[in-house]
Each structure stands twice: as structure tokens, then as C-alpha cells.
């Protein structure tokens, strides 16, 4: 796998980076999720596809290093549609043949047929990320997921058979009702699938979701930060023991199987987000598209710019973000690379903060790197706050 250290300014002034394509439709909507997403409606899905194609066609030039189809549930769309979309993006952004191309998938057997994987493999998809969440039936029910553990096994087999061996499994911990024992069961079952990559996400209660209403009504049903820390620790211990590298706060990979697309985010690299609610970072500007379906589609139908929010990152805000992102990774902040890119010596600029956080046992500071300690990963917000403006 190629390590991407600096993507700002490759061949002939065209920036290089990741391309993200957002596909917002789901076979059903999960009660904890707050991404831009809607239950599938054929006519809306078709309209959206046209708008997305128009956006890809009109997108700014970018040399793609990775491609990521996220959602929503991309495999809600027919495999041929996905293949065509991948082909269009590949051509438009010059994605190299062997480059990492990921599709997020719901492991529902109807959406994970052998034909789906075959079509994906043919289109050059190299990696699938399965939204497994849990392998314990009660927790899947609480999460509103309709697949079962067996479905995941089938999906993994089918992917491998189609030649897609780079399989990632997404898991959620701190699910209401979850115990250390049940989380261990999920982790064991996930390891048994022999994935190349595992993400463990602590359940986050997002505003305006059914889960937020549930928590407001019965906060006692939710797991507190002490118990959550225990679950997180168990995940780290089991996955590391199984040979996974804990390379980012929520991400674990077999050697060589890190997600290059996501690593680019943490390295503060360029990326182009396409689709409703998608975020981009190009030429020092962060931008995020409207999350409103109608607004997004109408803009593209009128060949107008997609409305949204944006900010130009400069000075302390830029440094803070760069540090915040780098600290999430096991590599941490590379002092020399940071100095070269932003002109700032982290060890000097944040001297007081570093002393403090080191004393608190949350940072490991060496002349070449600043990294979170294991303890620091548990309270990364408290640590990273010290760096944001």
C-alpha cells in the first residue's frame, strides 16, 4: 500500500486526493444514524443518480488516489448502477487501476448476492466495508438492523469468492443493553470472519435521531462513560492480540490493510466529496454540501453550484485541525513533516499544552513525534481540544 504523505500539489497543478461519493438511500433507516440518508424510493433514487452524475461531470479537476462510496447504503442501488458510477468517477478523476476503491455495504443477503460482488470486482472495487454493527441478535434488534450474524458470514464468503479479499467490518459498542460478555461475543465472531480491517465505533447519540429521543426519555438505558471505556479497552486488547494494528482511534487493520482513503483525512489531505451532504477539502477550503435532498438535486438540475457551508482554513484553526486529525492516528504528529507543511514547530508552538498533557499521561512526546498514549486515546477529545483554536 502506498503511504500518502503530502497530496497538496502533484502533477501539473492538479491536486491529488480522495474522492468520496455519497449514496443516501437505505433499504430501511437505523434509529441511531444521522447521516444524510432516506429510505429507498425508486423515483427519488433515479433523480439523485442523475444529479450525482451531473456533479461528477462538473466537478473540479482532481487526481484521485482513492475512491470511497459511502452512504446511506450504496448497495441499495443495483450493482450495474454502482459499476457505471464507479466507471464514471474512475474516468473523470483518473483513478489508477489498482487504487483502493471501497464500497460501504449493508450485509443483508438480498443486497449482497454473488452478482453484486462480481459486478463490483469487475468495476475495480478493491475493498468492501460491511456495516455489521453487532453479531448478537438482541443488539442488532436494538440497533434496528435486520440482518443476522449468518448473513454476515455469507456476505464475507461471497465477497472473497468474487475476488474482493480486502474486507472491513464496522462494529458498534456501547449499545444499550450491551455487556462486556456480549461485546466479547461480537468481537470473537467478527475475528472468526478473518477480516482485513475492523472499525469499532462507540455509539454516539446524535441530535434529532430516535436514539436522542430515547436517551432524553430514559437516560438510564444508555451506557455511561466508565462502562464504555471498558468496552473500548476490550476491543483494543482483543484486536491487537489477534494481530491487528490499532492505527486510528476507531480503526484496526492487519498489516498493509489500513484504509488509505480514511488515512488521507487524518493526514489533512485533499479530498472531493460528491453527493448530498458530502464534505470536501480542497486548496485549504473545507466545504460541505447541503443535506437537503431537494436543494441538492435542484441545483444540479439547473447546473448551479450546490449550496452548502464552507470555510477557508488558516492559521491556528488549520494547525489545530491538522494536529487534531494526526493525533487520532498511531503515527501521531510527525514533528518534521508538520514543520515542513505548516511552518510551525509543534514542540514549540504547543509547549505548555504538551507539558500539561504529558503530565496527565495522555501524550507521548518525543523529538520526532507527538502521539496519544493508550490512555490518551480514551479521552482524545480532552487532549485534542488543547490544540483547536
Amino acid at each position: 500500500m502506498r503511504r500518502i504523505t503530502d497530496l497538496s500539489g502533484e502533477a501539473a497543478g492538479v491536486a491529488a486526493g480522495g474522492v468520496y461519493v455519497h449514496l443516501p438511500f437505505c433499504p430501511y433507516v437505523c434509529p441511531y444514524c444521522d447521516f444524510a440518508k432516506w429510505p429507498l424510493q425508486r423515483s427519488r433514487a433515479q433523480r439523485y443518480l442523475r444529479a450525482l452524475e451531473a456533479e461528477i461531470a462538473a466537478a473540479p479537476p482532481l487526481q484521485a488516489r482513492t475512491l470511497f462510496l459511502g452512504g446511506g447504503t450504496p448497495n441499495t442501488y443495483a450493482p450495474a448502477t454502482i459499476a457505471a458510477l464507479v466507471a464514471q468517477a474512475r474516468e473523470r478523476f483518473g483513478l489508477p487501476a489498482a487504487a483502493e476503491a471501497t464500497v460501504e455495504m449493508n450485509p443483508d443477503p438480498g443486497l449482497c448476492t454473488p452478482e453484486v460482488f462480481a459486478a463490483y470486482a469487475h468495476a475495480g472495487i478493491t475493498r468492501v466495508s460491511l456495516g455489521v454493527q453487532s453479531l448478537v441478535p438482541e443488539e442488532l434488534a436494538v440497533l434496528g438492523r435486520r440482518h443476522c450474524a449468518g448473513d454476515v458470514t455469507v456476505a464475507v464468503e461471497r465477497a472473497r469468492r468474487a475476488g474482493i479479499g480486502n474486507i472491513s467490518v464496522d462494529l458498534i459498542f456501547a449499545v444499550p443493553g450491551q455487556t462486556v460478555a456480549s461485546w466479547r461475543r461480537t468481537l470473537e465472531a467478527a475475528l472468526a470472519l478473518e477480516p482485513a480491517h475492523v472499525s469499532t465505533y462507540g455509539l454516539t447519540i446524535e441530535e434529532n435521531t430516535p436514539y436522542a429521543a430515547w436517551q432524553a426519555r430514559r437516560p438510564g438505558d444508555f451506557i455511561g462513560s466508565d462502562a464504555e471505556a471498558e468496552l473500548y479497552a476490550l476491543g483494543i486488547d482483543m484486536l491487537e492480540a489477534a494481530g491487528f494494528e490499532h492505527y486510528e482511534i476507531s480503526n484496526f487493520a492487519r498489516p498493509g490493510a489500513r484504509c488509505a482513503h480514511n488515512e488521507n483525512y487524518w493526514r489533512n489531505g485533499n479530498y472531493l466529496g460528491l453527493g448530498v451532504g458530502a464534505a470536501s477539502y480542497l486548496a485549504g477550503c473545507r466545504a460541505v454540501h447541503t443535506r437537503d435532498f431537494e436543494t441538492y438535486c435542484t441545483a444540479l438540475e439547473r447546473s448551479a453550484a450546490v449550496p452548502g457551508d464552507g470555510e477557508r482554513l488558516e492559521g491556528a484553526a488549520q494547525l489545530g485541525e491538522a494536529a487534531m486529525l494526526a493525533l487520532r492516528t498511531s503515527e501521531g504528529v510527525d514533528v518534521a513533516a508538520f514543520k515542513q507543511r505548516y511552518g510551525v514547530n509543534v514542540l514549540h508552538r504547543y509547549a505548555a499544552v504538551l507539558t500539561d498533557l504529558r503530565a496527565a499521561g495522555t501524550l507521548d512526546v518525543t523529538p520526532s513525534h507527538v502521539r496519544l498514549t493508550r490512555r490518551g486515546r480514551f479521552i482524545a477529545n480532552d487532549v485534542c481540544q488543547a490544540f483547536v483554536a
Binding site: G18, Y20, H22, F35, G70, Y201, G202, L203, T204, S225, D226, E228, A229, Y232, I249, S250, N262, Y265, Y271, G273, G277, A278, A279, S280, Y281, R286, V288, D309, E311, A317, G320, E321, M324, L325, D356, L357, A359, A360, G361, T362, R377, F378, I379, A380, N381, D382, V383, C384, Q385, A386, V388, A389
Partner: protein, 611 residues
């Protein structure tokens, strides 16, 4: 303004058509409504104008349901005898903190309307105000107000008046200020019962009963002329500070300030004299002619002494100079506010501020925060302790952090109050328990006609200011009323209770407590601090110590997990903003050593509940 009806009787002048009165009442017994009615009925001012012009329109007082001060106002009243009278109505502050000011306002009057709620009867402040009025020899007109209420029981209240106030119950006027009942009788009684002012003609004496600072005209002194004539253009002297000024303008309140040539015996008005600061004139001071000074000032002057002190410090992001400027400006209009620079190891540079009482302290803090937009840290309130050393030296200590080690101290004294609680009988047990816990000694117990009980205690002031009123209210479902007066200093077995965070003493959290209560206070305080201090990146031990010995310990265990799991599909801005939001919350806190403390932690001692 010389009254046409001044009568000369030898050396004494009688202003027979002037009556000077005030209204005194327990809080919520209807003083403000009655004041409004009197102004309305005498057509002094229309209701709406009054709101805007007369009442001190500061939001804070409105919100707290107290009018600290209303300007004096002159009512024109044609009595049933056909004569026209000048009724000077002087308002009094309605809170125990301001009792020294109350007594100055009372001294400017010959009579007082004592307003009593017909349903609630006599309460603690009724008694306290009554005693203040008696000390000033005022004629008291009891007014039983709110007789329109279904629960009104005027007969019972009359009995209470006879028992407690030694006034004929039949003298009481039945009224409902809200419904306009009895207002005419009240005005008539003011004329009939309150004696006209009398004064000497040999010299001039004017009582300064209040003063305000006007940014354009300097200090405006509110004056009641007791003797002689205070004319514009004369040079006068303040007899206490012995400073001489020229009266550039004198006038009356009709109801707005109206210039006149002179103020005569019995008149209530204002004097403007190019006085730059409220510190240059004392409320209670006597003005006399510089050329022909009176032989002695009016009696009763007492300098205003702050009773309660606390430290005020700028929070993170506020400069100490901003706080100093705000205090300077505030003190222009509040001569009772004392402040001087101090520094704390934990909090840096700030000010030790002295207040009349807890309400005064809260009002000042809120004004600083609201009007000057300052984010402040206030430390726990303290009283002034007197310390005597073995070598005979004595010292006043208004900051617990400055208390020397116990072995250097020969004797410590603390201020005591006499507190009066009036309560329904069923709460007597609870009040006794509470007050004994607060080192109160029962001095007297009396029963009222309706079965209510008056409990009189002598207790340390510090025990009263630390949350006593709230505890009393909660134990009596709000039925008990409280008033108190300072009675002097008494010896106390007192110790400094220190709080250590992370093993380091935090001077701003120390307090002076009775030895017998130190252990329980220490435990309660560490428990409360554990509640108030948010979890940090590391364990924070909280310890209470007396004389270096640890007596209580709690630990705020470290935050176990606080991390954003997701990447939000590359929406880094959103992620950063979440962190920034968390950080802003943290920045409202004060960093002491390595520990982030919320503002409330410094006032924890006020939030211990019934201890």
C-alpha cells in the same frame, strides 16, 4: 421653598402644613402597591409615568421583587379640613442588608405607615422596622393591607398589633392598596396623626438621608432640613467629613427634580454642590452653614461598615483592570461597596470586596457581570474576624486565607447577631434544630394570638450568611420570616478549614469555621466539591484539612472516555466544532494548578444545604 404656613414660636419654627412620612413593611406586604396608590390618588403622577420615572428602574431589583430605593417624592394633598398639605414621602430600602440606610430615611420623617398583610400578620421585618421607627420616635400608623384577600383576618392582626407593637388595634387603618380601599383614610391619618416638623431658627441643619451620583452633575444629596434654611448659593459644610461646598442648586421632588430658591425647616429635597464622588459625602451626615455652623450635628450618624466580604477575581479571559474599572464605576453609585486589591495564589490578582450583607453582595456581583459583561469568580463570603495575638496586637481578618496559624492567636472574636424568626408553631422544632446547628442560642420565645411563635436567637453572623435563610425557608415551607441585627463581637473557638486539590492547598477555598463544626463541614464541603468539579484527565483528590491535618477526602475520578468515534464522512469542520464547543465549556472554568474548577466550586460552601 418657604411654606406660607410656617409658624414661629420663639426659637422654634413649626412647618404646620408639612408632613414627612415613610412606609415600612415586611417584604410582599404591599408597600410598593400602596406607594403607587398614594401617588395616584394625589395625582402626583400617572401610573405609567411612575414606572418609568420614579422607581429605580434597574432590572435586578424588579427581578428580585425588591425596590432598593425609590426617590423621595412630594405629594400635594388637600385634606378634609380644606388645607393644602405638602406630604413628603421618603422610601426605605426593603431589606435587612440596608437597615443602616433605613434608619437614616426614618430619621428624616416624623411618621411611618407600618403596612401589615391582613392574611399573614406581623412578620419578622415588621417587627424590625417597627423597632427602628420607635428608636427614631416616629408616630406609627398601622395599616392592615390586603383586606380583600379571602384569607384576610384583620381582627387577628389587630390583636397582634396590640400584643407586639403596643399600639391600640383600633388605630389601625383597614386597607386594600390593590382595590383602592382605605387610601383616603391613610392620607387623612398622615395629616392628623403625624406631627408637623419643628426646627430651630438659630442655625441650619440638614440631614443627608441618601445620595445619588449623576454623571453630569456630580453627587445629588437628598436632604431633610431639620433646622433653619438651606438656600442655593450658600456655602455649607458637611459636619462629619468637615468639607465645605457651595450649594449650586437646591430643589424638591415634584416628582422630578425641580429647582427652588431654598429648602426650609421640614422640607425634603436635594442639594447639588459640585461633589465629585459619593465617598465625599456620607449618608447620615449633617449639612450646616459654613459661616454659621450648628453647635453639633444631628444625632445617630454611624459610618457604614461592610459586614460581609468576599474575593472577586476575573475569570479566564478577563483582565483585572476591567474589573477594577467596573468596581470604580459601581462604587460611584454605591458608597457601601468597599474594595481593595488582593491576590490569591489560586486566583491571581483580584479584589477583596466588602458588602452590607448577602443581598448587597449578590446585587453587586450580578451588576458587574451583567452591566459590565465580566465573567467573575467570587469566593465564599466571610465576615470580619477580630484576632488578638499573644503580644497584645489585634487585627481584623476579612479573608480566611490570611488567618495566621492557630498557635499564634491568643483570642478570636466574631460578629454576632440577634435574629428574630416568626413561624407557625409546627416548625418550631425544625427551626430549633437548624439554629442550634448554626451555633444559635435561644434568647426568647413568644406566642402570638394566632398561635405563631417568635423565636429570638443570638448567633454568629457567619452562620446566618452561610445559607441560613434558604435552610429556614425550606424547613418551614416558606412560612417563617427572618430578620436580624448585629449586636457585637464575641469570642469564638474558630479554626481555618483548608481545602487541598491534588495535594495543593487552594487558598481561595479556605474558610473560617467553628472548631466543633469543622469536621462535618469539611466532609460536606469535600462531598459538594466532588459534585461540582467535573471529571478531568486525571484523578483529582479533594481534601479538607485543619492545621495541616487531613479530616476528609474525596476523589473526582478521571474521565474514562471522551472521544469522537466517527469521521463524519470527512466532515472535519463538524468534528472540530464539537471539540471547540467542549473547549468553550472548559474555558469558563478556572484553572487552579492543573485542575479546572467551575465558578460554583468557589461558592460551594453556600450550597451545602442543612449542615
Amino acid at each position: 421653598m418657604t411654606s406660607a404656613h410656617t409658624v414661629r414660636t420663639g426659637l422654634t419654627r413649626v412647618a404646620s402644613n408639612i408632613r414627612n412620612f415613610c412606609i415600612i413593611a415586611h417584604i410582599d406586604h404591599g408597600k410598593t402597591t400602596l406607594s403607587d396608590r398614594l401617588l395616584e390618588v394625589t395625582r402626583t403622577v400617572a401610573q405609567r409615568e411612575m414606572e418609568a420615572q420614579l422607581l429605580d428602574a434597574m432590572d435586578l431589583e424588579r427581578e428580585r421583587g425588591i425596590t432598593i430605593k425609590m426617590h423621595p417624592v412630594t405629594l400635594d394633598y388637600v385634606a378634609r379640613d380644606g388645607e393644602r398639605y405638602e406630604l413628603n414621602f421618603i422610601d426605605t430600602p426593603g431589606h435587612v442588608d440596608f437597615s443602616s440606610e433605613v434608619s437614616r430615611s426614618l430619621a428624616a420623617c416624623e411618621g411611618a405607615l407600618l403596612v401589615i398583610d391582613a392574611a399573614q400578620g406581623i412578620e419578622a421585618q415588621t417587627l424590625a422596622n417597627y423597632h427602628l421607627a420607635l428608636e427614631q420616635n416616629l408616630t406609627i400608623i398601622p395599616v392592615i393591607n390586603k383586606i380583600d384577600l379571602p384569607a384576610a383576618d384583620p381582627e387577628r392582626v389587630k390583636k397582634e398589633i396590640e400584643e407586639l407593637l403596643v399600639i391600640e388595634g383600633g388605630d389601625a387603618i383597614l386597607a386594600s392598596a390593590k382595590e383602592g380601599i382605605g387610601i383616603a383614610d391613610i392620607l387623612e391619618a398622615i395629616v392628623e396623626r403625624v406631627p408637623p416638623p419643628r426646627g430651630s431658627d438659630d442655625y441650619v441643619r440638614g440631614l443627608v438621608f441618601d445620595a445619588q451620583f449623576d454623571p453630569y452633575r456630580g453627587v445629588v444629596s437628598y436632604v431633610r432640613v431639620m433646622d433653619g434654611t438651606l438656600a442655593a448659593g450658600t456655602r455649607f459644610m458637611s459636619m462629619n467629613q468637615r468639607k465645605v461646598y457651595e450649594a449650586t442648586e437646591v430643589g424638591v421632588f415634584k416628582p422630578l427634580m425641580r429647582k427652588t430658591r431654598a429648602l426650609d425647616v421640614g422640607n425634603v429635597g436635594y442639594v447639588i454642590a459640585n461633589i465629585k464622588s459619593l465617598g465625599d459625602i456620607d449618608v447620615g451626615d449633617t449639612l450646616t452653614e459654613a459661616a454659621r455652623p450648628a453647635p453639633e450635628p444631628l444625632p445617630g450618624y454611624k459610618p457604614i461598615v461592610p459586614m460581609v466580604y468576599c474575593g472577586l477575581y476575573p475569570n479566564e479571559g478577563v483582565e483585572v483592570s476591567e474589573l477594577r474599572e467596573a468596581l470604580e464605576k459601581l462604587a460611584l453609585n454605591d458608597s457601601a461597596l468597599h474594595y481593595e486589591p488582593e491576590s490569591s495564589i489560586a486566583l491571581g490578582f483580584g479584589f477583596r470586596c466588602g458588602f452590607l450583607g448577602m443581598l448587597h453582595m449578590e446585587i453587586v456581583q450580578e451588576r458587574l457581570e451583567r452591566n459590565y459583561d465580566l465573567d467573575l469568580i467570587a469566593t465564599s463570603p466571610s465576615v470580619v474576624f477580630h484576632v488578638s495575638y499573644s503580644d497584645g496586637r489585634t487585627e481584623s481578618i476579612d479573608n480566611p486565607a490570611k488567618l495566621p496559624p492557630r498557635d499564634k492567636i491568643a483570642l478570636m472574636e466574631e460578629p454576632y447577631v440577634r435574629s428574630t424568626v416568626i413561624t407557625p408553631p409546627e416548625y418550631v422544632g425544625a427551626i430549633m434544630e437548624l439554629t442550634q446547628n448554626r451555633r444559635g442560642a435561644l434568647a426568647n420565645m413568644e406566642y402570638l394570638a394566632d398561635g405563631r411563635v417568635i423565636l429570638t436567637y443570638e448567633m454568629p453572623l457567619i452562620e446566618v450568611i452561610i445559607d441560613y435563610f434558604d435552610a429556614l425557608k425550606s424547613r418551614t415551607k416558606g412560612y417563617a420570616s427572618l430578620d436580624y441585627e448585629v449586636i457585637g463581637y464575641r469570642e469564638g473557638d474558630l479554626v481555618k478549614l483548608e481545602i487541598l486539590l491534588n495535594g495543593e492547598p487552594v487558598d481561595a477555598l479556605s474558610s473560617i469555621v467553628a472548631r466543633e463544626k469543622a469536621a462535618s463541614r469539611g466532609r460536606a464541603l469535600t462531598e459538594k466539591l466532588k459534585e461540582l468539579i467535573p471529571r478531568q484527565m486525571f484523578d483529582v483528590p479533594i481534601q479538607a484539612a485543619i492545621g495541616g491535618k487531613i479530616i476528609a477526602r474525596e476523589t473526582v475520578s478521571a474521565m474514562r472516555k471522551n472521544v469522537l468515534a466517527k469521521c463524519y464522512g470527512g466532515d472535519i469542520t463538524r468534528k472540530r466544532k464539537l471539540l471547540e464547543k467542549q473547549k468553550v465549556g472548559k474555558e469558563r472554568m478556572k484553572r487552579v494548578g492543573r485542575v479546572d474548577l467551575p465558578q460554583e466550586a468557589f461558592m460551594a460552601v453556600l450550597r451545602l444545604g442543612d449542615t
